[in-house]
Symmetry: C2
Subunit: 213 residues, 2 copies
């Protein structure tokens, strides 16, 4: 019996106040995008290519989650799972075989393995919010502090204190303030910020190789 290596990617993005996952509509049950590993390519690259093919957009960030054995349907499958993050906005590319994005709180009937992987992906995502800058990969190029706070609140499913949040963010020195303002609605305009790409997240619990073959 020979194994099939299947790479599965859980695509996340934010929309308004929802955390969305991307699913391939599929036959019976929708499933996360994925495909076979290729002998000549690092798994991380294959994961990127697969998710790119499914979305027509470059993801901002991806990382490996976990690998599990999955003897399914007379077929020996090894599933290597990944998380991919996409910037908020500009999601839809409605050509037929593309992704359907849906709220994580209302994911309908996934296969067992996909549910497991989604569960773990959420744990990791939430945990990493607290000690990395991973949230920035879900934000558009420029954003207001309120939008950023809303992103944190959406993912963590809890409200945060405005002043403490802003202090924490500005203290971390990974924000740079552009000198544009966003004026919309009948209220004071908000300052726009950008992610300082140099001060990126620590290597904390991330492999040192980053795509060794």
């Amino acid at each position: 019996m020979t194994p099939h290596i299947r790479i599965v990617v859980v695509p996340f993005t934010l929309d308004d106040r929802s955390l969305l996952v991307g699913l391939v509509p599929g036959m019976e049950t929708p499933a996360f995008p994925g495909g076979p590993a290729r002998p000549d390519e690092p798994l991380d690259s294959t994961a990127r290519h697969l998710v790119r093919a499914a979305t027509d957009r470059d993801e901002q960030y991806s990382e490996q989650l976990y690998t599990l054995n999955h003897p399914d349907r007379e077929r020996w499958e090894i599933v290597v799972s990944y998380v991919a993050l996409f910037r908020a906005g500009s999601l839809a590319a409605p050509k037929p075989p593309r992704l359907a994005w849906q709220d994580v709180r209302a994911t309908t009937s996934l296969a067992d393995v996909d549910r497991l992987i989604l569960q773990y992906a959420l744990i990791r995502l939430r945990a990493k919010l607290s000690y990395t800058n991973i949230a920035f990969h879900l934000m558009p190029e420029t954003f207001t502090l309120s939008e950023l706070q809303s992103a944190y609140e959406t993912i963590l499913e809890q409200v945060l204190d405005k002043r403490n949040f802003r202090r924490r963010m500005t203290a971390s020195r990974i924000l740079v303030q552009t000198n544009e303002l966003r004026r919309e609605g009948n209220h004071r305009p908000a300052a726009l910020y950008r992610f300082a790409p140099d001060r990126d997240e620590p290597a904390y619990l991330t492999p040192p190789w980053v795509n060794a073959s």
Copy 2:
């Protein structure tokens, strides 16, 4: 071309003031214990069995590290790496095909993949020391606080403040003091502690399934 799934386990243990890794002596270069995945068994179990076979001892703890593609020697190999922790003491079981333990600071000529994996294993182990109780899996049943501190110092390769360390440990409520003392050497005997197995480490960044198939 069909892939071969190889599970590789990095076995760690402590001895005196060294962090040791277990290597299979092997032909040209020594290598970490490992073997093929089995279709009918969760990868985590296979990893446990493999390391058990190589050491004749039960490991105290193991967790998956990372999976990488490794097209080597005309053979397509997917390497799923694990870390396993062994209690200090009672290492040697000198039957021929067993492990040779050596100091991590002086590991000789490993294969590229093994070096990579070892590097990452060390990063993970050190990181987890700070926010989990993983160190206890490297300790014998009962131990003194000085021994525990020495374990932390050995792994982190830095000295820690005695009073702060003891405060931190007792505050964490995962130590229970036995009412035995260890009397050795010409100095005051030390209190022996035991790990409180209930208050085990948080699920923090560890998959929720724990050995789903």
